[in-house]
Amino acid sequence: MTTAAERRAARPQPGQRRDYHFPAFERRRLENGLELIVSPVHKLPLATVAAVFDAGAVCDPVGREGTAQLVAKLLLEGTEQNDGAELTERFERLGASVDAHADWDAAGVTMTVLAEHLPEAFSLLGEVILTPAFRQREFERLKAERLAELLQLRAEPRGLADEMFGRFLYTAESRFARFEGGDEQTVQRIERDHLLSFYESRYVPGCTTIIVVGDVTPDGAEAIVRKCLGGWHGGAAKRVVADDHPARLERAVHLVAKADAPQSELRIGHVGIPRNHPDFFPVNVMNAVLGGLFNSRINLNLREAHGYTYGAFSAFDWRREAGPFLVHTAVRSDVTDAAAREIIGEIDRMRAEAISAEELSLATSYLDGVFPIRFESTAAIAAALSVLSLFGLPEDYYDTYRARVTAVSADQVLEAAQRYLHPESLQMVAVCDPTAVRGPLDAMHFGPLNVYDVTGQRIA
């Protein structure tokens, strides 16, 4: 028999590490305040355009949550020149795949097209940005589709657990306590006029960024953008700061009842920290060890040691204000309490003692090594540049990323765990069969337990 050390020594050793640089990019600003970021990538004859607007769900008017997402989606449903059917037809005849969406912090339209069609496709995109028509018929259709989506959510445990987690986590006054795309009540209240005033106040050149990545030059891209958007007038909108206060500081259990569910969709966590945080890197490495990787503590424990689940992971949901920290998994109903106990144990262990050198190097060498793989496509590079612009990260953020990750020490990870993991404030949300799960969870004495139906009404 060979020893473990001998076996390790017999393994292939890496060759000389090769250089990698995040693609170079140029930032320019047009006279009307529009920001332009261009990254020439000539690998394939493709171009991706991302238009990013400071018009995310945090900007939704109170009581009409869902406005931001409807506005973003309606951009692609017709302009003054082309109705919805004609517009999609014209984009798609060029082979352009175009999508619009609003998340918490921003709205965006993303388009990927063969570079030869970029000028024509971008002129359609210019129409979409400058002259969306918000026709009544399309507005009503998209509203009905959102209501259909909400109806579907009631029978979809994964999505329901994700949405309900935010609801139970944040104070009722917080935008984060409502669904990102709005709920039945708030979507019903939205009328076409609300969309128009939202569009007019939030879609302005002074807080819009156009990102072009691919087989283009900075001057060529600027000429295309200038031609279509150079005449766009308007100021800048005031940034909306979301309330990110938690609903409560002590632990609580929130069960959402789904009769006969064979699994519990489990979410355990608390309000985390904002994206622009000085401890972002230690927190990121800490999370990788706790539950960010396949070989993280939580997944090895719940999946590989216990076979409770197909997978269990932790994440910080990065937003301008503090998004959730959460552990998410789906476990067999009869081990819901046991799985929750293991998760809490892993969170406690992160804070009790420093991680080993092996764990630290696994996390940092992973984050360092996969860095180039994250930016193989024009769409991925455009998304990275959107993050840079949206969160106001420094120009050299991607150039220094790998050095900053590998500089994180075990002591910093311990400190990050002690500062930013709050076991005393954990909220547990489970979409589950309460008849199977409630008794064992009560016996855990985790915290006060309430049961809700799938619409969020308290039933026990």
């Binding site: 076996r7 393994r11 292939p12 050793q13 890496p14 060759g15 590490r17 090769r18 690998k43 394939l44 004859p45 493709l46 692609l76 919805g84 059917a85 999609t88 037809e89 798609e92 005849r93 082979g95 795949s97 990927t112 097209v113 259709r141 009905a144 589709e145 209501l147 259909a148 989506e149 109806l151 579907q152 029978a155 979809e156 445990p157 994964r158 064979p262 699994q263 990787l293 396949f294 070989n295 999946r303 590989e304 076979g307 409770y308 689940t309 197909y310 789906a330 476990v331 067999r332 190097s361 696994l362 060498s365 992973y366 090594g369 996969v370 793989i373 193989e376 496509s377 024009t378 769409a379």
Partner: protein
């Protein structure tokens, strides 16, 4: 780096449904020189990503990592191809069985409409056909899987003569070939793979097959399948273009007609299974708007298909579909992992990895006449299979038939 084994759920023996996929999980449980989960650990420590997946006709394993770490991936794959069995234990099998059972619950049993993944092939392929049975497997068959099954499956299917290795990215050709020879060269061929039974099927179902499934869902949803020419065949490309005409993105037929104009559906799409043997399936997938009953959803979807059969497809629709497919293909080719996977696929199915270079041309060569010929031959009533999901509380008595019987088992 990408490795395709030409084995999938189609190769399973009766009573062992789900085994090909369970076996894929076991390949991450170590080999003679690698401990359980160490494969993941070593690749991630090297700065790489990895996974595996199981399909009806193949199982693949892939690692993407910094160029200077190529040998690590080759060594790991060779170690488990050559020396898997010493690492297999009953305890590992039991744990992975639990993991897979949870995967089944997560993707199917506790997911609205989740059972379509096993009900649709069961409806569309005859009972004895290798594509008929469940890929994820029944709980009973998973429970019955033994270590002997692991050893036998490994000896039968996991050998170099049944595998294709592809490498894409930044490497030196000579050096890479030497490394492949060094690690895989010594592994002997097994030549033990039994032939699959005759998988040929008539070009059409011969009738309109129907199954109604009452489920814990809020809205009716229809999977309407058509038997179509096998992946990669001359007829396949017209079928694939037809699928894109019907359901790829927003200006497609079904989206335009059923979602935008008539507002019968909340969502609509279409896809092909891309099966390279026997027969392929083209599937339209349509979810009702609230207030639209299941029967109406099925009737209106069929009506739109009838219109396509009656009036044909227009040239502009084919142009739109081919333009989108081309952009999608070029977009996918940016990723080294995707390039390697396509190379393995074309080599496994057709013995010709170079087909990756002709793929866009094959689509561009599809003519309107070919698409309309496909439409006439394959979208008619004698070649349809409806799998219709109905919210349990809306299921009228006479509809409950097939689904209720299956439930009572």
């Amino acid at each position: 780096m990408n490795l395709w084994y030409h084995v999938g759920s189609a190769n399973e023996r009766p009573g062992r449904t789900g085994f090909a996929h369970l076996f894929e999980h076991m390949l991450f449980q170590g080999s003679a020189d690698v401990e359980a989960n160490e494969h993941f650990e070593l690749i991630q420590r090297a700065g790489g990503t990895l996974n595996g997946s199981t399909w009806l006709e193949r199982t693949n394993y892939y690692e993407t990592l910094p160029a200077n770490q190529l040998e690590l991936a080759l060594w790991l794959e060779a170690n488990r191809m050559g020396k898997l069995l010493p690492a297999m234990t009953q305890q590992k099998l039991d744990t992975q069985r639990d993991v897979v059972m949870n995967e089944r619950r997560w993707t199917m049993d506790n997911q609205p409409y989740g059972s379509w993944m096993e009900k649709l092939p069961a409806l569309c392929f005859p009972p004895e056909h290798p594509f008929h049975h469940s890929l994820i497997g029944s709980m009973e068959d998973l429970a019955a899987a033994s270590l002997e099954d692991v050893a036998q499956f490994f000896a039968t299917f996991y050998s170099p003569d049944n595998a294709v290795l592809s490498i894409a990215g930044d490497f030196d050709r000579r050096e890479a070939l030497e490394l492949v020879q060094k690690h895989f060269g010594p592994i002997p061929a097994a030549n033990r793979k039994p032939p699959l039974p005759d998988m040929a099927l008539p070009p059409v179902f011969g009738q309109w097959k129907r199954e109604v499934v009452p489920d814990d869902v809020m809205l009716p949803r229809l999977f309407l399948a058509f038997r179509s020419p096998v992946f990669g065949s001359d007829g396949y490309y017209a079928a694939s273009v037809c699928g894109a005409v019907l359901g790829l993105r927003n200006a497609s037929r079904l989206r335009r007609r059923l979602v935008r104009e008539r507002q019968i559906a909340a969502e609509a799409g279409a896809f092909t299974y891309d099966l390279a043997k026997g027969a392929d399936l083209l599937v339209a997938d349509v979810t009702a708007r609230p207030g639209v009953a299941a029967e109406q959803l099925e009737q209106e979807t069929a009506y739109e298909i009838d219109l396509v059969v009656r009036d044909g497809i227009e040239a502009a629709e084919v142009e739109r579909a081919v333009a989108l497919i081309q952009t999608m293909f070029v977009t996918a080719m940016q990723s080294a992992a995707e390039r390697a996977d396509r190379l393995s696929m074309y080599a496994t199915y057709f013995g010709d990895p170079h087909r990756v270079n002709d793929e866009v041309d094959r689509y561009r060569a599809v003519t309107l006449d070919q698409v309309n010929a496909f439409v006439r031959e394959r979208l008619g009533e004698s070649n349809r299979a409806s799998l219709l999901y109905v919210p349990r509380d809306q299921a009228p008595g006479e509809l409950v038939g097939a689904g209720a019987a299956a439930e009572a088992e």
